[in-house]
């Protein structure tokens, strides 16, 4: 059974944003002058143009040079206060934001909601206003509810960076994924990127769809039908208003078909609690059908990259051999995360002054 779909041409022409351009990039987003920055917040990548994504990636390259120095410390954000506000647990995202701020010379304050006034019933907006009052310039926020950073951004002068909200968006992860991919294979235009796993509950997948399609990659999402969002392929047949146009992509429920000739395989964490909710028959069945194994990877392009946003369930969505194999760039992703977050802190602080 398959819901495979090449998008009908009809939709490709009518889609509003981030059209996968065959020749010239046709985006309805405003085209700012190259090298300029107009975002006060980074909430998701759906409002980023190709030029803006390129500016972030270029700046990331500069930050990597800083990180490679013997003493990785520059005075760029002296006097800037960065607050990380995490309503959900995290190791890599929170620590890499903290390090990014410190390398750039900012003051970094870490707040875990589990050990703050949130426990006493303080509302999100009140917490944000409190942090603004103590002088936060940038607020890095993770929240289990989709849209929470958007709410926060409407109530504060500080810049909000979304470090993951519910199932919705994780823009910094998508940017570091793109940076990692580009540093290996160069331009992603026309390259085949397969995102495999639990798409429905993945904010990583959602943000990656925007950035990858904006940059012109051919994106295939793959997973069991119960873990694929309804309507992902866009309106078929019936004319639906395309105001909320999705990026153009292909949907495939068979991993063996999806992975064939892929340049990049992006695996997602299977949240084990999904098993209890009856969305998959059993972990074993999921592994049989959707685990990225050596055998399956062998049918992708030679040297195809394997990514994973972490934390990895080895032997579930990805086999041990692939996770630690020569084609895996999982550790590199973590290292690039610091540089990408430095780039965003720099652009947000400098661009809005």
């Amino acid at each position: 059974m398959t819901m495979s779909a090449n998008l009908p041409n009809e939709r490709e022409r009518s889609s509003g944003a981030a059209t996968l351009a065959q020749e010239p990039p046709t985006s309805t987003l405003p085209h700012p002058a190259p090298g300029t920055w107009h975002h006060s917040h980074v909430l998701d990548l759906d409002d980023f143009s190709q030029e803006e994504i390129e500016l972030v990636l270029e700046t990331t390259g500069t930050m990597k040079e800083v990180l490679a120095r013997q003493i990785a410390r520059v005075p760029t954000l002296r006097g800037t206060t960065v607050v990380t506000l995490f309503y959900e647990s995290s190791t890599r995202t929170r620590s890499s934001f903290e390090l990014a701020g410190k390398v750039l010379g900012a003051d970094v304050i870490n707040i875990a909601a589990s050990a703050s006034s949130v426990q006493k019933g303080e509302s999100l907006v009140d917490t944000v206003l409190t942090l603004q009052a103590i002088g936060a310039d940038v607020l890095v926020m993770r929240h289990p509810r989709s849209g929470a950073p958007y709410l926060a951004s409407r109530h504060t002068r500080a810049s909000i960076i979304n470090a993951g909200d519910g199932w919705h968006a994780h823009p910094t992860q998508a940017l570091l994924d793109l940076f990692t991919i580009q540093s290996h294979i160069g331009d992603v235009r026309g390259r085949k990127v397969v995102i495999v796993g639990d798409i429905t509950h993945s904010r990583v997948a959602r943000s990656n769809l925007w950035s990858l399609t904006t940059m012109g990659a051919q994106v295939v999402v793959c997973g069991p039908p119960t873990l694929l969002p309804v309507g992902l392929e866009g309106p078929q047949g019936s004319e639906v208003e395309s105001e909320q146009a999705l990026p153009p992509l292909e949907v495939e429920t068979n991993l063996d078909r999806a992975i064939k000739d892929a340049d990049v395989v992006m695996t997602l964490r299977l949240q084990l609690e999904r098993q209890q909710s009856g969305l998959i028959p059993s972990i074993r069945e999921y592994c049989n059908l959707y685990q990225v194994t050596e055998e399956r990877l062998a049918t992708a392009k030679p040297g195809a990259l394997v990514l994973h946003p972490g934390p990895v369930n080895e032997g579930v969505e990805i086999s041990l051999g692939v996770a630690h194999g020569a084609q895996s760039v999982i550790e590199e992703q973590v290292a690039n995360g610091v540089a990408v977050r430095m780039a965003l802190l720099y652009l947000l602080s400098r661009g809005r002054s």
Binding site: P32, A33, P34, G35, T36, W37, H38, L55, E58, T59, G61, T62, K64, E65, V66, R69, I71, R73, V74, P75, T76, L104, Y346, L347, R350, G351, R352, S353
Partner: protein, 180 residues
């Protein structure tokens, strides 16, 4: 608005040639010399000086590039270009004689930032400064060791250095506001 050509392509070529000779004379050869061009137009200038030296000395000192974006103390206005390019210092500069190269010396603030940036890479034995144009109006106690041309200007004037590698032709233009 009036535009005056201050330096022709020939003037630029001769100035670079003279600066190259002065640097070698001053440092008694090119032992321990390291050239660092400041983004953007300092980079091709430094390259040309190094090429000149290679021609008459027979050896070519190491050449690096430096972007001072991370060290600026003045914040750009909104909408201005805030791109930063990677820096590349190819050798350990500790104890070396570093020649910093830029196109225009004006307030001295960029050079201040460049000195901070350089020192983060190591402790040079000496830092010297070479510029194609010195237009005055310093805000910091900074001076150049090698100057292509001194140009008296008012603060409202605009000095534009054009280089073949970036702008397609060589030359220095002075734009004065009408009625100044």
């Amino acid at each position: 608005m009036t535009e005056t050509i201050i330096m022709s392509p020939e003037d630029v070529r001769r100035a670079i040639m003279r600066i190259a000779h002065e640097i070698v004379e001053n440092n008694r050869g090119c032992k321990d010399l390291v050239f660092v061009g400041m983004q953007t137009r300092g980079v091709p200038l430094a390259k040309r000086i190094v090429d000149c030296i290679a021609e008459f000395e027979g050896e070519s000192p190491p050449l690096g590039t430096l972007d001072i974006g991370l060290y600026r103390d003045d914040l750009p206005d909104q909408g201005l270009n805030i791109e930063i390019k990677p820096s590349d210092i190819p050798t350990n500069i500790a104890g070396k004689r570093v020649v910093l190269v830029d196109d225009v010396l004006y307030t001295g603030r960029s050079i201040r930032a460049a000195l901070d940036a350089l020192i983060d890479y190591g402790r040079p034995g000496r830092i010297q400064l070479a510029v194609l144009v010195d237009r005055g109006h310093r805000e910091l106690p900074i001076r150049a060791d090698y100057v292509g041309k001194n140009i008296p200007t008012s603060r409202q004037d605009e000095v534009q250095v054009r280089l073949l590698e970036i702008d397609g032709s060589d030359g220095v233009l002075l734009t004065t506001a009408e009625g100044e």
